[in-house]
Every structure is written in structure tokens, then in C-alpha cells.
């Protein structure tokens, strides 16, 4: 199967094509640098993303606090992680960088707060 990607490593935006057969990359064309090549292969074989959302806050000046994963996680795990985040509620005050969840779903990442929320 042939995948077409626009590279995002730099502003050049090369159109890279990755050929995959039986989960193995057989051909990569269109890249102008090795970084682009590596990015395109990872993007097809094991795409990862930083995930961000908000979680509920009890007794806060704001009803939510924004959070993110400290490391990119595999793309296919995102919906599952979002469900976990939708179920939790934490108590104000919350501080930037505070760990909200340690190692959720064994993803080897942390969920940290990205804004302060004062308590009422």
C-alpha cells in the first residue's frame, strides 16, 4: 500500500510517498533530507502524538484544567486515553506542571496540568 504524506519537519513541505507491504516499508520517495525520510517512516509504522485535553476541577475558579501528555503516545491509543481523561475530576488548587495521572494505560507518559486553577 502506498501512503502519501506532506512532510512537516521543515517549511519545505516535501510530498513523501511511503510504500508498505506486510507491515514493512519497501520504498520511500520524495524526501529531500534524511530527517524527512525518518519522519515519514515513523509516521506510517508507529505514528505518535502529544495529546491534550481538559479535565474537570472541583471547587476551582474555573471548571476545567488543561492537561497534556509529557511524551507523544501511539496514535491508536488516543481514543482510549481520552476516555480515561473524561472520567477523572481533581480538586483545586492545581498548578502548572502538576502530575494529574502517572503512567495511564501503561503508556509510559504522565498527564500534567498546563494551567493554574485557583480554588474558590
Amino acid at each position: 500500500m502506498r501512503h502519501r504524506l506532506t512532510c512537516i519537519v521543515c517549511p519545505l513541505g516535501c510530498l513523501i510517498e511511503v510504500e508498505v507491504e506486510n507491515d514493512r516499508v519497501t520504498e520511500v520517495i520524495g524526501y529531500k533530507c534524511p530527517r524527512g525520510r525518518d519522519w515519514a517512516i515513523n509516521e506510517i509504522i508507529n505514528p505518535k502524538r502529544i495529546v491534550m485535553s481538559v479535565v474537570k476541577v472541583k471547587n476551582g475558579k474555573l471548571p476545567t484544567v488543561s492537561v497534556k501528555t509529557t511524551k507523544p503516545i501511539p496514535k491508536e491509543k488516543i481514543p482510549e486515553l481520552m476516555k480515561v481523561l473524561a472520567q477523572i475530576e481533581i480538586k483545586a488548587p492545581v498548578r502548572v506542571g502538576q502530575v494529574i495521572l502517572e503512567n495511564p494505560l501503561d503508556l509510559e507518559t504522565k498527564i500534567v496540568a498546563t494551567r493554574d486553577v485557583e480554588s474558590v
Binding site: 519545505l12 481538559v54 497534556k68 502548572v96 498546563t114 494551567r115
Partner: protein, 414 residues
Amino acid sequence: MMESYDVIVIGGGPAGLAAAVKAKELGLETLLLDENEFLGGILPQCIHPGFGIHYFKEELTGPEFAHRFIEKIKDVGVRYQTSTYVLNIENYSDLEKKIVFSSPKGIKEVWTKTVIYAAGARERHAFEIGIVGDRVAGIYTAGEAQTLMDIYGIMPGKEIVIVGSGDVGLIMARRFALEGAKVKAVIELMPYPGGLARNVMILRDFNIPLYLSHKVVEVRGRARVEKIKVVKVDENLKEIPKSEFWIDADTLLISAGLVPNVKLLQRIGVEIDPSTGGPIVNELLETTVPGIFVAGNALLINDLVDYVAEQGELAAFGAKEFIENEGIPSKRWIKLENGQNIRLLAPHYLSGERDVYVYARVSTPMENVKIVFPEIKKELRFPILRPAEMLRIRLRAEEIRRAEKKITMEAIPQ
């Protein structure tokens, strides 16, 4: 005795925060005013990463970027007031300006020598882009939906059509998809996407269809949006007859660009550049009214917060120059003009006394292009330039001085 300051900064977003910190560090008596309950402008609701790569050399989310500046505001001891809405700027003389504002303590007035106006931009709304039909619930600007979701934790809808493929529209497409809503389409008027390449990739992540050269023309629904009419447009952006189709959706998200928020400035006679929608400024970001400076999206629509903060700091430096010299000293100003394929640029007047960063956008996507300043014989080559990516080009003082009266900026094929 009425309070008096060297600088009043209007707006507590990234431009205003950076301006206030720098002004205070330069030894100026500074007061920052913001209409919101909390500082940060729109940053606290921009919970996605991608902020501060240039300024802090690391990738932060919007709230984290804001947090760092708010800490700085406290560290250097800038006075600030939230829930404060500036009603009027009165310009009595170069070093005497009165700011009238409403606050929880009532209407107040303060004197200041200079103003740094950093009030950002507003979003274009449905009526401005020619959408007709039923005026029902479920029509939001992207920023409104973002505030609802990411500050107040409320989902605005379940089945979404987004108008506009700029960065804001694309980021909201991801946000909705992550939260489990169905993003049915992104509709883009132009034949190319409006956002940065890395954001366009979001559509692939969530299998969201992008309709280029298409336009939303009508909304139908009884109490809430039910269906949305889309038509194809030709290369002159004219609707193609019989090309229309309907998409069922309960929510229409308008992300059709931002307009610098300059009403207060126009009232005191600040001249506006029709191509940026913001004020005409010199190299220290001073407007055509002496002592009134402008930075951030009120100056021109930026795509990186890093440049916004940089503009805030430059305006603060301008305010210091202004106060020390009772005006910005320059023997002559050289006009910087947009020529072929340059849609907009700032600043507009250069002195040749210092190096200047020029911010500009091209009119259409171009490959193998050179940016040329013919009068000063400067040329830069680029493999690709897109309207979505703002150019930032340094002109050296000695280069600027080569020009007699004006410098033109052009984008032409190599």
C-alpha cells in the same frame, strides 16, 4: 491627583504581557489593563502544543506560554488590572494622553505619556462571509467554541461543519474529533489550505474531508442547525451553478480569519493600512498618532505567538525612545511598500538607523521564488512560500540606508 504612568499597555495577551514586562525592565512606570478576568488573552484556551518554539526554544501549550509571562509580570512587579475595559483614549499632546476605563471600581481616568495598544483581533462572523438562512442555535466562531470547550468544559455540538482551513479551524477540527464529535467537513474557499502544513495533517489523522474551492452559503434548521448548504466556486471564487449539496450537521463553526481590533485607535485618527487591517507603523511600531504604539494581532494577524511577543518588546523599546526624546527621532523616513505578490507587510516606515524585522505574507502559494527589494539590491531565495506562513526578514540599517525614498518588497519567480 490623577494617577500618571509612562506606559499604559492595553491588552493582557502575549503582545501586551511581553510589552509590559519589557517596559518595566526598561525602567518605565507601567500599568497593564485587560478586559478579561484573567491574564493571557486567548492563550489559556489554546490548550494544544506548538507555542514558544522560537521564544523559549521549547514547545509549550498556550496556557503554559501565558503562565511563563504572567510569572514574569509578577517577578518584575508590573501593575496590572483585570476586568477593566478601556472606553477611550484621549490624545492631548505628544506626552499627555488620558485613558478612560471602566472597572469593578467604576469609571476611572489615568494619564500616560505613551500607550502600547495590544488588544488583539476579533473573528470574522457568519454574516461577514455571506452565509444566509435560518438564524438558529449552533452557529459559533471557532474561538467561541474553544472558550466553551477548553475553559468551561462544555461541548458545543456533535456533528460539525467547519468553515475555513486556517490554523484555528484545523485545530478546532482536531479538538472536536478528540472529544468524540463527528467533524463532517472542513470547507475552504481558496484552492489551497489556509493553515500551516503541520496543522493540515490533522485532517488525515481523523479522516476529515477537506473541500477546497468550496463555500458554505446557507444554514437551515428550526431551533438548531440541521443542514448546511455548500457550493463549489471557480477560480474567480464565483459560485458554480448546480454544484450545491447539503451536509447534515447540528453545528456550524466559523473560522474565516481574524480582523485587527482597531476601533479605539481609529477614533483618535490612527491611519489604517487596508492590506493588514491594522495601523500604519514605523520601525518601532509607533502609529501615525505620536506616542501610540501597537503590537501583536492588533498590528497584523500573526501565525506564531513568538513574533507577537517580539512585537510587544519592540513597542516597549519604542515607548522608551519616545519618552527620552520627546518623540521618535528620525531625520527622514523611508517608505516600505508591498509590490508584486506581497499581500501585506509591516512596518511601513524605516529610518536606516537600526536593523528592522519585516513581517510579510505572499498573495498566493509560490515555488522557487525570490523575495526582492530592488531599490537596495537585496535578494533572498525560497523553495516555497505560502500565504499561511508569515515571512520575517531582517533588513540591516546599512541596507535600508541605500534607498532614497522608498523600498519595495516583491515576490517573483527565480
